[in-house]
Structures are given as structure tokens and as C-alpha cells.
Symmetry: C2
Subunit: 151 residues, 2 copies
């Protein structure tokens, strides 16, 4: 969970035999400039880059976010919807977790050092290399609790 400059990204890619491309740099920048708490779907990324006049194909976007998620640069978020969302994987103390309403998908972000610690200790114990750690709470928000309509 580090903050990536274009050069840091390049080194880390090259280390693994991968390459830094303008597309990958563009996508990283997009996420880095996103206001905290925003998360984008592949389609969102596609649209934003289109609007910015830096179009990148959807295929490349899918490939890139998957790659960056596996590198620990992006977090892959799975809420109740039918598509994934991505956000930058920020280091402590910006790291946060998600509370999600399974009915309306409203999400609340919250921080918890304790959860982070549990995550890193567990990884250590099992010999895993930590990429991301999120406490995911599925719940029903106050509004939806009051809603009379079933489903």
C-alpha cells in the first residue's frame, strides 16, 4: 500500500517483466485525482477518460484494473450490484472500510485501525503477502428498514 509516482509504477511493473504504458499511467492518475470516497466501475473509467479526451478501450481498462488490483494498487470492491468498483488502495491512515445497504446500495465509509491490524497479523501468521484488507459490512440502512415494500 504505497503511493505510486509514475516512476515507482514503472519500476514495479518492470520488476515483474511488465511495461509502463501511457494507458496505465493515465488510469493510475485518474484514480489518484479522485476525491476520497469515490469508486469507479470499468464503464465509469471509460466514460471519464472519454470526457477528458484521453480515450482508452474498455478491454484495456478491464485488463489494467485487474492488473493493478493484483499489484495492490487498486482495491476491488464488490457491493451488491452486478459489477465491480475500483478505488485507490490508500495506506494508513486513509485506508477505510465499507458499510453497505443490501437494499439500496447506500455505502458508508469508516476507518478502523483495529481491523487493519487483524488483517496484517492474519497474513503474517499464514505467510501470505497482504494486498488489501477490508471489513465489509452488509446491512440494511435506516430508510430501507422503514420501507414497507418487500424485496
Amino acid at each position: 500500500m504505497a503511493i505510486y509516482t509514475p516512476n515507482a509504477l514503472k519500476s514495479e511493473l518492470n520488476e515483474r517483466g511488465w511495461r509502463l504504458t501511457p494507458q496505465r499511467e493515465t488510469i493510475l492518475k485518474l484514480f489518484q485525482n479522485l476525491p476520497e470516497g469515490n469508486h469507479l466501475s470499468a464503464e465509469d473509467i471509460y466514460q471519464k477518460l472519454q470526457d477528458q479526451g484521453e480515450p482508452i478501450s474498455l478491454s484495456t481498462i478491464y485488463r489494467t484494473v485487474k492488473l493493478m488490483a493484483r499489484m495492490g494498487i487498486l482495491r476491488e470492491l464488490e457491493f451488491a450490484e452486478d459489477h465491480k468498483h475500483y478505488e485507490i488502495n490508500q495506506p494508513y491512515p486513509y485506508h477505510h472500510h465499507h458499510l453497505i445497504c443490501v437494499k439500496c446500495n447506500k455505502t458508508v465509509e469508516f476507518k478502523s485501525d483495529a481491523a487493519l491490524k487483524i488483517g496484517s497479523k492474519t497474513c503474517e501468521k499464514e505467510g501470505f503477502h497482504l494486498l488489501d484488507c477490508q471489513l465489509l459490512i452488509q446491512a440494511i440502512c435506516p430508510q430501507c428498514q422503514r420501507s414497507i415494500v418487500p424485496e
Copy 2:
């Protein structure tokens, strides 16, 4: 997070204007009889019921697991694959969390009361009704760390 008998399931369904059907009961039983640590995809459920001689259509299976997840009876697990897995949402002290290798999908289950507490406190504070709370750790397992092959 309660243990459901058929009758308890019926009451809870009826409360919301829904109905208890043989299919729903069969699916609940299937999960309740599953050895701890097992989680099934929709397709897995379909196959198992087929083999048991209690076939249920895939449509119904998808509808049922979604319903039960929203009721808090099942947990919806999203690992790195392209399909969801479900498991029974067990109460403390059986409740557990997941550590997943993003490369090979190996999963390790672990318990953590602390994570549970953070979850319930957060819900309380925000006025949400807790359904499920999981600490999801994405990481790279020892074997995959050693692997030379990229991607």
C-alpha cells in the same frame, strides 16, 4: 444471525408477505448440512440437489440465495472468481472471515471476535441493521509468491 428451523424460516418469510416453499426449505437444509467451511455457487447447488434427487431450477436457486442473503440467512461471498459463492451465515462463535489468494483463489478461514465487534458497533452508530460482517483479506499465498510465471 440465528439458526433457522423450517418454522422459524416460515414465520420470518410470512412476516414480510413472502411464502415458505418446499424449494426454499430444501435449499436451506442443504446449507445447514454442509460441513463447516464449504461454500457453494448457484451451479454447485443445482448439481447437488440434482444428485440428491430433489431437482430445483436454476432460476429458483438464484432467486432463493439472493433472498436469503438479504434476510441475513446466507452470506454472499465474492472471491476473485467470476461467480458468487454462498454459505450459511453462522452466529458467533462459528462466524468466520476469509483470507484469499488473488492469484490461485486459495482461501483460509479464520475467526475474529474483534472484527465482529467493530462491525456491530459501526452498524449501531449508523442506525443500520446488521446482516453480515466479514473481514476480507486479499493477498498472495506462499506458493504464488514463489511462482515465477507472471499473471
